[in-house]
Amino acid sequence: MKILLLGLLLALPARADIVFFDLNFSPMEITAVTAAAKARGEKAHIFPERTPEQQRDLDKYYRLAQSLQTKLRGCQGADCGEIIRRLAEVQERLQAITAVMRKVENGELENIFASLDARSVKVSTMIFSGHSGGTGQVGGLLGGIVVGQVRQAFDKYPRLLEPVRAILLWGCYSGTLHSLSGIWQKNFPSVSTWGGFENRSPLGIRESSGRFLKSFLLSESKLRAAKGLNDAHRVFRSLDLVAELDGTAVVRDMYFTYDQAALVSEMLQRCQAFDNGMMDQFLCYDEGRAGCENPPADHRGALRDIYNYLQKNRHCHGSLKEKYPQLPSLEYLIRLIYLDNVKKNFVAQHAAESSSFGRIMKEVGPVPPLADFGKSTRKQDMEAFGAMATGLNALGFRDLSIVDRPNWKPAMLASMAKEALTNLLGPSFYRTFESSCVPFSWVDPGSREKDSCQFSQSVEDPLPVTMESQLVAMLAHTHIDKYLADHMLRGFWIDIPRDKEVWKEMNKAQLRLQIKDLEQLSDRSALEEARLALAREKLIHLDGIGPRELAAEEAAGLRGLVVLTGEKIEWAGAQPHGEVAKIALEERRRIMERRIADLEQIAQGLQP
């Protein structure tokens, strides 16, 4: 009888199951996967495996860490010190909890595949959840995978891939057309259904992430069974929170977002419509060139056309960005189109700082009064920004090594004011960001909303305590950063001998450039002079050493840095507002000490 039962069991087809890789602690998604698997008549396998106690502790400390990180972003002065201290404690707790778990790293993915294969598990859907940049990797607190590793693991256990109908990538930007079709589907063409997020995704401790996942899992078969593009889009649009979370899907050769459904090939074709001419039009207005002295007063024309194109074709962003690194974000573009209103708000809100701005800028030469920025053209603004840069360069302000010059303070203040002003009104690093320090409401005149570009703080006289505190921290870190750069310690996380050689060659090339740049300066500061001598010495030295010596040298360099950091900790502690800097430096020293110990072990294991 027993033999008969066993025979019957073996004759039954293996049940299809969902495999969920929880790489950054996502309890709400685990609940969703478990519920969806039950509804589908399947079993959910969660990795890494954990005990209920570990899950409970992870939940407690993970949420605490998230809340402290949020508080840290908005803290001021001494409060920040306490938050940094608590955050470090919580992160150590998290490390202790996860240290005993079998994280998905160092070959564990293949072990998991081997175990699933040995148990003849028939995988219907596989989910990777964690942080992602949409470039084929997903990871976090509990491990990480890259598409190549998954490929390798499936190649080793091909039977496991055969029944897989869907792979879902639950992380930020994992659902862009490039990620789903260009990276993942290309590697696994037999998998017909793919899902992810076009933009940022919610953390796995949020309910929304689980709701969308459950809905996707329960509608997956309907998506596949739909008759044609429109029918499939109707199913996709009905998914819970799909629009709110910017969910996306690829089903065979079709790509879906809430607002669009098209063949993948058609979506890719649309990206060809953006050309050099459009980019030139943008740069022409952004830089106030001849013929584009100011964005049109009616807010229409080429800039608006570019905005409309980019909003409608967000899926092209990745490929266009590769071709045009200066491609503006929508946030930047809309403020440029409405620059007239932005400037009106700026002048109205900062009128009171006009005289202190004038006092600070006196150091750098002829800079227009603040009120003039309300009526000037983009072209005139660009000329003013250029004059400020020239004036600052003449004062010796090239980078933070200015702190070694006797006249550093006025130049530092002028530089900060210039930075804040260009972040508000000029081309700045915000050009390519999905955010801005200028509030959106400034596209309309008469906004009551304040900007967060720190212009007021930059021209405040005397300096406010918060700014002084930040300045103390900045000065304390300046020497340390220069030390890191000068001693080539930026590659100190590389442990593979071959990579160390590559790193050495890269650094030699960088050293040559650095020497060339420094030699061209006729008024080198003492620090710049020392850096030039060190760079020449280092270049000669690097030629004759191998990976083992490199690791030993990095350890020695870091030991020197620990001493220097100790001096700066004492210095910061003695400053009136140096508490936050002191804590940050102590944390930095602790990381360096840990790394020295690692490097010493690595150096022992490497060939000379």
Binding site: L72, E244, D246, S436, S441
Partner: protein, 85 residues
């Protein structure tokens, strides 16, 4: 964490305020839920105008919106609650 601490110390400028522009999908759903999609179509609004309407609807009072868009049906505007973000 080191990076976070250093960023917060070196680049106070990164402490950004405000809300980002929506994706087209998010905007379309919000306008549909608020019963404004037919208004958008009747006005033949382009992408930028729709974004402006969405952002203004989330930030402005009914009176302010009525001044900017006299024929705007205001019944569904509560759907623009920040909770959806």
């Amino acid at each position: 964490m080191k990076t976070l601490v250093l960023l917060s110390l070196f680049f106070p400028i990164l402490s950004l305020a405000g809300e980002n522009l929506p994706s087209r999908a998010k905007r379309m759903k919000a306008l549909e839920d608020a019963g404004l999609f037919s208004f958008v179509q009747a006005q033949q609004m382009d992408e930028l105008d729709q974004d402006l309407l969405y952002m203004r609807a989330r930030r402005s009072s009914a009176e302010e919106l009525k001044a900017l868009y006299p024929s705007l049906p205001l019944e569904g505007l509560r759907a623009f609650s920040k909770e959806a973000q």
